[in-house]
């Protein structure tokens, strides 16, 4: 029998994901590539059983970490251990729903954590393979802000943090364990609406796809590829991900195209203008500049 948090994969397929809920009738909900899907138990095999939550065992964050006002993500690695533990510190005044995706939008992308964290709560998730320094492996944190236990009518707040040593601070814990941690910008809290809050289910999934070439092409191939072919693969990846979003009935999808000579951005805008999905409408608008700078576009799917 599976439990929430278990990593599973399809028995007769290649998909893998995290069990989010146990459903009636020997079925489970599995979060796979950002989508929650319904599976019969017989269709899945267990890959990794997540250890029970031991949040209470987590030592308080030392004051020197400066975690007093932030939402903080970190991971620790014991000496001589291949695996690491993930920490989530919520020192904001709001409950936050955190969804952790590793390498989103890539064939190796996987969802590893999805849970509610209350104010002043700390969680420790055991037994992760750590990101490899310098590889630019993307850890994408999808955060939904909750207030008074009800979801605000704001879209999910998403942050992508790549693991680069300069982005993370290092802290030596007792016993030789090393904690790497990074602050996430505090989520923007929308003013409390006078209208009744929207139901949780009305928030449809959204997705952020990083189109940077190092996110979709392996390093060895990238080193010998022609610039034209790199651009072609980026455009193909964009079309595939947009197609999935349209078919799945998503409201919007964000593409990080970066800031270069503007060719990729122009190809995206040209495709949106042509819109092969009519009568479904596609509208491009700049993504949140505070998060992505000028290097991303949100496609609204109508």
């Amino acid at each position: 029998m599976f439990q929430a948090g278990d990593i599973v994969r399809e028995l007769h397929g290649t998909g893998s994901g995290t069990v989010t809920r146990i459903l009636p009738g020997n079925r489970v909900a599995v979060l796979m590539d950002g989508w929650e899907m319904d599976y019969a138990l017989a269709e899945l095999v267990l890959v990794n059983r997540v250890a029970p939550n031991k949040a209470t065992e987590l030592p308080s964050a030392p004051e020197s970490l400066g975690l007093s006002e932030e939402l903080c993500l970190g991971f620790s690695q014991a000496p001589n251990s291949e695996h690491c533990d993930l920490f989530v510190f919520n020192n904001t005044a709001n409950s936050v729903f955190i969804h952790l995706l590793i390498q989103p939008g890539t064939p190796d992308g996987r969802s590893v954590f999805r849970d509610l964290i209350k104010p002043a709560e700390k969680k420790r998730i055991h037994n992760f393979l750590p990101p490899v320094q310098g590889t630019g492996e993307a850890w994408c944190f999808q955060v939904v802000v909750l207030s008074n236990g009800k979801e605000e009518a704001i879209p999910p707040f998403q942050i992508t943090k790549r693991f680069r040593p300069k982005d993370y601070n290092k802290y030596n814990l007792p016993g030789g364990e090393v904690l790497w941690y990074a602050m996430l910008e505090p989520p923007v809290i929308a003013p409390v609406s006078e209208q009744p809050p929207q139901e949780l289910v009305t928030l449809r999934p959204s997705q952020v796809v990083d189109l940077h070439h190092d996110q979709i092409i392996d390093a060895a191939t990238l080193a010998i590829m022609r610039e034209e072919d790199i651009l072609r693969q980026q455009v193909e990846h964009f079309k595939q991900q947009l197609d999935r979003a349209v078919v799945a009935g998503m409201d919007q999808i964000t593409f990080i195209h970066g800031i270069g000579n503007g060719t990729l951005q122009q190809r995206i805008l040209d495709f949106i203008h042509e819109n092969p999905y009519q009568p479904t409408s596609l509208t491009a608008q700049p993504a949140n500049e505070r998060i992505y700078g000028q290097g991303a576009v949100v496609i609204l799917i109508g």
Binding site: A220, I224, M225, E228
Partner: protein
């Protein structure tokens, strides 16, 4: 007469093959700078094979009433961290070429362009052979490891490779 889109893809592939020529000459030059003349010879012959591929496509494009447009070539990498890196990048490149040939085949099938489809069969077979050769050499290199005597023998063996135009 092939469609405009098919001709465009064939033209892209032709230019891709020319990039392969430059890439393999760059690799040959790297091998020479490392005093590995046999490996350099292997890559020079490889560059000749890529030229043969390109010219085969050049001829076909004209046979189906198209016209070749030369494109600006990207600069291939010039520095490698060793022979293993060199062959890993070679395999990655050949896989990329195979992928683009497969795309051509898909396009030909979707257009019911059976002439181009038949023309491309030769390249599919050729790519299987190319990838297999490179994988074998990489395995040998890994087997050799730090053994300088074995590396000397492999260098000698690759130095004997000569270019013979593949059967059409």
């Amino acid at each position: 007469m092939a469609s405009e889109k098919m001709l465009q893809l064939l033209n892209d592939q032709f230019n891709r093959e020319l990039y392969s020529v430059n890439l393999y000459l760059s690799m040959a030059s790297y091998c020479l700078s490392e005093d590995l003349d046999g490996f350099a010879n292997f890559y020079r012959v490889q560059a000749q094979e890529e030229t043969f591929h390109a010219m085969k496509q050049f001829d076909y494009i004209h046979q189906v009433e198209g016209k070749v447009t030369m494109q600006a070539l990207s600069q291939p990498p010039a520095e490698f961290s060793g022979l293993t890196d060199l062959f890993e990048k070679t395999i990655a490149h050949e896989k990329e070429v195979s992928r683009s040939i497969n795309e051509l085949v898909q396009q030909a099938l979707s257009e019911s362009d059976f002439a181009t489809h038949t023309f491309l069969q030769w390249f599919i077979t050729e790519q299987v052979e190319e990838e297999s050769t490179m994988h074998t050499l990489l395995k040998k290199l890994k087997m050799i490891g730090d053994n300088q005597s074995a590396l000397y023998l492999m260098n000698e063996e690759l130095g004997r490779r000569t270019f013979t135009a593949p059967a059409a």
